[in-house]
């Protein structure tokens, strides 16, 4: 299960800050971002080519970081999640550079706390979402967002082997996406304003010129529908 890892990947002496302008939200998908990480050092390129045919789940990759400080596992997770974290953070209003900084910090947190990640309790995307959300709040509001040990409830937990397969992971995201798409546009809108803009009920109410009570009931109905979908999957 453990791939042999290069022990000493050397960072380039000078990090180029030249083409900041080239950074932008892109519709080209993950491959473009993957190129950006791949093209850097030959060691990193090797990591990617060595891993070409492996299809470890994201959770397995975290395990390899926890057990062996496996850089190739980290590189693979980075390639997948860092561009998405950056996109989410830019959506919250951070500029390109700051969004990338916080995306990086989030991924470094994953490296640091890999041993604490328990795939039986949470999906990696959920875990990363929490970290990025909290980092964003720390950064923009200079405040700490009190944490709930939400995985502590232990009820209806999915067995690890069921969540492990990348296909299931993808399927899960697909189904939540499908469930979102299945919501009435008005309900989907309040969920997206909540998560992608971090808007409070009163901010949404002002944004959409709706009574506060309507905003709240829409969120409740939308969440109930999404929750049903999540529960059906588990």
């Amino acid at each position: 299960m453990m791939a042999k890892t290069p022990q000493n990947i050397e960072a380039p002496k000078v990090a180029s800050r030249g083409n900041l302008a080239a950074r932008r939200l892109t519709g080209e998908g993950a491959d473009a971002s993957l190129d950006a990480v791949k093209s850097q050092s030959s060691e990193v390129r090797d990591i990617f080519s060595a891993r070409k045919d492996k299809a470890d789940s994201h959770e397995d990759l975290v395990r390899r970081i926890a057990d062996n400080k496996d850089r190739s596992a980290f590189a693979e997770l980075f390639a997948h999640y860092a561009p998405r974290l950056k996109s989410y953070l830019m959506g919250l209003g951070l500029n390109d550079e700051k969004a990338e900084d916080l995306a990086q910090e989030t991924m470094v947190t994953l490296w640091r706390k890999a041993a604490q990640f328990d795939p039986a309790k949470a999906r990696l995307s959920t875990w990363l979402f929490r970290v990025a959300r909290n980092r964003f709040i720390d950064h923009t509001r200079k405040q700490k967002y009190a944490e709930v040990d939400a995985d502590d409830h232990m009820s209806q937990m999915v067995a690890p082997e069921q969540t492990d397969a990348p296909a299931v992971q993808r399927q899960y995201a697909e189904r939540v996406k499908a469930a979102l798409a299945g919501l009435k546009p008005a309900q989907k809108q309040v969920i997206e304003l909540s998560f992608y803009q971090e808007m409070s009920h009163s901010e949404i109410s002002a944004e959409l010129a709706l009574p506060l009570g309507t905003v709240k009931s829409r969120i409740r109905i939308a969440f109930e529908a999404l929750r049903k979908e999540l529960r059906d999957m588990a």
Binding site: L25, V37, S39, S41, G91, Q104, R123, Y172, F223
Partner: protein, 219 residues
């Protein structure tokens, strides 16, 4: 509004999405500690966040982003991840986020006078005008009638109180808004009722007696 004393889903979604203020998030995190059902719902809402994260159009990273991450990792310097140990207060139970904030038990705090049978302690003021309070009332106290100009979250930590037909006991949360007029909590007989509260605007007291208390309460 919250007849069962459990925070309604729309607030759990706001917690999960990061849309709560810090003071609200603190009280919600304390509240959730009492109820597995709430933790589960918050975990579900955060899973929605995770799925939305999976679904965004990936942004382009700068050249060398991964190498920079490895540099940051090397700079970590093998320092052990710091485990924030929270002082344990067994009796009465104190939720973890509050225990971290206070660092001591309820009886070691410097309570201020708020009115007959009532004490208060302002823990924090926030830039947005919110205030975080501990309120303490002797068993049997009838609080003065008051309206709410803003939103108020109140989490019961010890004892209990009634508002109308609703009975709030430890772990239960009351959410009151400007629409809740003539709000008069009546404290249960027996032990002191201690509550953690967030206010976002001063409350307005009715009646001569109430107005007389206003300077004391000062919420």
């Amino acid at each position: 509004m919250t007849k069962t004393g459990l925070l309604p889903d729309e607030w759990l979604v706001s917690y999960a999405s990061g849309a709560l203020t810090e003071a609200q998030a603190l009280v919600v995190a304390c509240h959730a500690e009492y109820h597995d059902e709430l933790k589960e719902r918050i975990a579900d809402a955060e899973a929605v966040g995770g799925a939305l994260l999976e679904g965004v159009v990936p942004a382009r990273l700068s050249v060398g982003a991964l190498d920079n991450a490895f540099k940051a990792i090397e700079a970590l310097d093998e320092e052990a991840p710091s485990e924030d140990r929270v002082p344990a207060f067994t009796a009465p139970r104190m939720p973890t986020p509050l225990a971290s904030l206070l660092g001591k038990g309820f009886d070691e705090l410097k309570w201020g006078f708020m009115g007959p049978g009532m004490k208060k302690l302002m823990l924090k003021t926030y830039e947005n005008g919110e205030r975080l309070w501990l309120l303490r009332a002797k068993g049997g106290t009838e609080m003065p009638f008051h309206d709410h100009r803003g939103l108020e979250f109140t989490l019961v930590l010890t004892g209990g109180y009634k508002v109308g037909d609703t009975h709030y006991t430890p772990g239960m949360m009351e959410v009151a808004g400007p629409e809740d007029t003539h709000h008069q909590p009546i404290i249960d007989e027996g032990e002191d009722c201690i509550c953690l509260a967030v206010t976002d605007a001063p409350i307005k007291l009715h009646s001569f007696v109430g107005r007389m208390f206003q300077p004391f309460i000062g919420l």
